[in-house]
């Protein structure tokens, strides 16, 4: 196999994820009761035999740095393997924040040259999917491409959020890209870019030497690809398996809840996904303990939980405690959440270390309206609670509410939050 270097884009926050991405980039968002989103592309790379990786980080990189650790979790360790964190830096050539995907790669060309790869695989760390990049590389070689982009078929509704391409030739594998438009307002094709770009080294050098005019050139999708189509052999590779974009709260929610089905779309158990078990001390936790009055159905529960109450159709990350008489339904509770006696949670997405006080009721009641401040962001009834917040005892919070991180019990002005309210 030719030498391939992967550059993982993991710098973005994604505003639509609200309080969940206040303190971490999208790539570090917890997923499926154990993982971080970036575990999926990293495991794909490991399973594809690509073991030299640069991670382009920018927004709140500390949680990502913690999570990646030495890279040993993905076997990216040894003299010829490794994960390098590439945060923005000051220097002679590179003197500023990353202004976009192309700019981030541009600022790290020295890193790339040092490794001297045949191929550079640029990919997003924000998506959940299982893909063998070897097949992509094989396709790239078989059509003698300079650049190959991976695409997945999406419905027309919501397609305006993606780069779209018209791909020549109806072969199942893919073909030459005839037209590319980044997030076009008018639908041109159901083939949406997965933000996976495989460059032959010369093609990348060409882009970086000839086409980059900082600071104007920022993004591959906007500034490079539409022009490059005429200059180089640019191909589209069609991906035919499930792919989760999880860019909105609702998409994130659906992708997680899908795992609770009898036959989930995402068959994670067959994906050979790894995470860093040292992060959040997952390794040191005991198996979960279930008390004499516990009831747990249709749920995913990892280690370190203590369940004395009722849990239905929910996902619990390590270290969650559900006290006696508490009821948790249709909810996702991240690391070390504590649900005190008699508390009731319905359709709650709570970040790490949240405490739900005794007899607090969150997300209960009839669904009506949307979040008042962010109607497009939160309208399916999910109530969000930010990291480390302490919900006071007896608080009643309705649906589509947002409660910001690190609130103390005494910060809450009233004991009732109507549907759709935001507490900052």
């Amino acid at each position: 196999m030719k030498k391939t270097l992967a550059m993982v884009l993991a710098g973005g926050r994604v505003e639509e994820l609200s309080v969940i991405t206040l303190f971490r980039p999208k790539a570090a968002v917890p997923f499926a009761g154990l993982y971080r989103v970036i575990d999926f592309p990293l495991s794909n790379l490991m399973n594809s035999g690509i073991d030299r990786i640069g991670i382009l980080s920018q927004y709140r990189s500390d949680s990502l740095i913690n999570h990646i650790g030495s890279g040993a979790a993905w076997d990216m360790i040894g003299s010829f393997r490794g994960i390098s964190m590439l945060p923005p830096m000051k220097g002679t050539r590179s003197s500023d924040w990353y202004k976009g995907t192309a700019d981030a790669v541009y600022q790290n060309m020295e890193f790339i040259s040092n490794y001297d790869p045949d191929y550079v695989l640029v990919l997003s760390g924000d998506h959940v999917y299982h893909m063998d990049y070897k097949k992509l590389i094989k396709f790239h070689e078989s059509v003698n491409a300079d650049l190959t982009l991976a695409f997945v078929k999406v419905p027309k509704k919501g397609a305006e959020r993606f780069g779209q391409a018209i791909i020549e030739d109806d072969s199942r594998e893919g073909g030459r890209i005839l037209r590319y438009a980044e997030k076009p307002s008018r639908f041109i094709s159901p083939w949406a870019s997965m933000t996976i770009y495989l460059f032959s080294r010369q093609a990348l050098n060409f882009v970086m030497d000839e086409m980059m005019k900082p600071p104007e050139t920022k993004h591959f999708g906007n500034d490079i690809f539409p022009v490059l189509l005429d200059k180089k052999r640019v191909y589209g590779y069609k991906f035919h398996s499930p792919w989760a974009y999880t860019r909105t709260i609702d998409e994130y929610w659906q992708a997680n809840m899908d795992l609770l089905k009898d036959n989930p779309t995402f068959e994670i158990e067959n994906w050979n996904v790894r995470t860093n078990l040292e992060n959040k001390h997952i390794l040191d936790r005991t198996p979960s303990l279930f008390g004499p009055n516990s009831l747990v159905q249709q749920s995913l529960i990892h280690h370190g939980c203590r369940i004395d109450g009722i849990v239905k159709h929910s996902i619990l990350f390590p270290g969650v405690h559900i006290e006696e008489g508490a009821v948790v339904e249709n909810s996702i509770l991240m690391f070390n959440t504590i649900v005190k006696k008699g508390a009731k949670l319905t359709q709650v997405l709570s970040d790490m270390r949240v405490v739900f006080g005794e007899n607090s009721h969150v997300g209960v009641g009839e669904l009506a309206g949307t979040n008042i401040e962010y109607p497009n962001l939160l309208n399916t009834g999910i109530t969000l609670v930010g990291k480390g917040t302490h919900i006071p005892a007896n608080l009643e919070a309705g649906k589509n509410c947002i409660i910001y991180p690190n609130k103390r019990e005494t910060d809450f002005p009233k004991t009732k939050m109507e549907n759709g309210r935001t507490f900052k």
Partner: protein, 433 residues
Amino acid sequence: MRDCVAFLLAGGMGSRLNILAKTRAKPAVPFGGNYRIIDFTLSNIMHSGIDQVGILTQYQPYSLMQHIRSGEAWDFIGRSRSARILPPSTGINASDWYRGTADAVAQNLNFAKRFNARQVLVLSGDHIYHMDYRPMMRFHKKRKADITVAMMHVPWRDTKHFGIATVDRDQRILDWQEKPDLAKNNLASMGVYVIEMKYLERVLQNAKGFDFGKNIIHDAVINDRVFAYPFDGYWADVGTLRAFWNSNMDILRRDSGLNLCQWHVRTNLDDEGHVADRLPTRFGKNAQIKNSLISFGCFVDGQVIHSILSPGVRIEKGARVIDSVIMHDVVVKQKAQLTEVIADKRAYFGAQSEIGVGEASQPNEKFPKHIFTGLTVIGKAAQIPAMTKLYRNTIIEPFCGKDVIAAQGLHVGSYVKQRRVKNAVPLTENNFS
């Protein structure tokens, strides 16, 4: 603690654990869901800040070596920390199998010398307890002891299994009885010794026997400074199947003193080659869980009551598991019923099979002293056919196929042997994990 080196004795056969210890050393027997017995002592060593540990192996060391690997799981990593496996070897100094606990240490004294140890901590790898060894070291130094033995009070009926001491007011041991029929006291040795290095060198040269309890301590009490360090926490010797089962069940009793959540026991999750992470456990629509400890990577759609599940166990709809210890990747098919079962890794229970049926009216036919209280023990990867009834006190050997079990006349206390096939493929390393 740079001046102390730990020797962890992990070579024992554990024959009373019967088929659980048939393919692995006793310290490597799985315990408490995702641990192995040795994890408890290794974690104690780690939490006590001891940097060097030599692990003395002899019997079936493969699964143990696989488990300990570099020692990284217990932070025995870095330039001045390590966990070394010390197997018996032939050579100038060490020329034979370990003939006993003291002999094993004697043959590896160089390991302790290399680190300029002033004290040696001798530990056993087959006990379940949580102990900080540092206060014991201080106790030892303060009394200028030659040997300090950690001791605890046990019920009088159990004294015959232990080294028993009589002490004076300052905890100095005046009299030692090794596994006495008639004990003078109920203060029992936990098999935890702090020994002055210089003293140890001298005494091992002149030792008449090969065992710490039987020979070294027994003789030392007469002439030297031997003290008893009192311990009153939870401690269990899980050397018998019933003790092993009891101690597992103690995890589920809040007042038992065995508090996994507070003990911070570490294990090596990568040791079985399943280095990819297992998923969170999936609970189905029909799951009913009471009073249980459940590891990750399981699928549970049946009833689990007062039981321990290791990673990867599958309990199908309508199945019921009560008072049982179920190890890694066991499959319990629909409507199977398990009561008081210890099932080793990858055992398979066919649909509607019933295990642990009836009364414990007679002990196991082959091992009446190992199995007589009603437990049923299923060996690694044994396959119980659908609709089969296994009565109490039954033992099924590892790797028994469905046809072997189906051909048996089963009764209370049955012992089912793995059929020996001519030119059978010998057990491979994979079977030892």
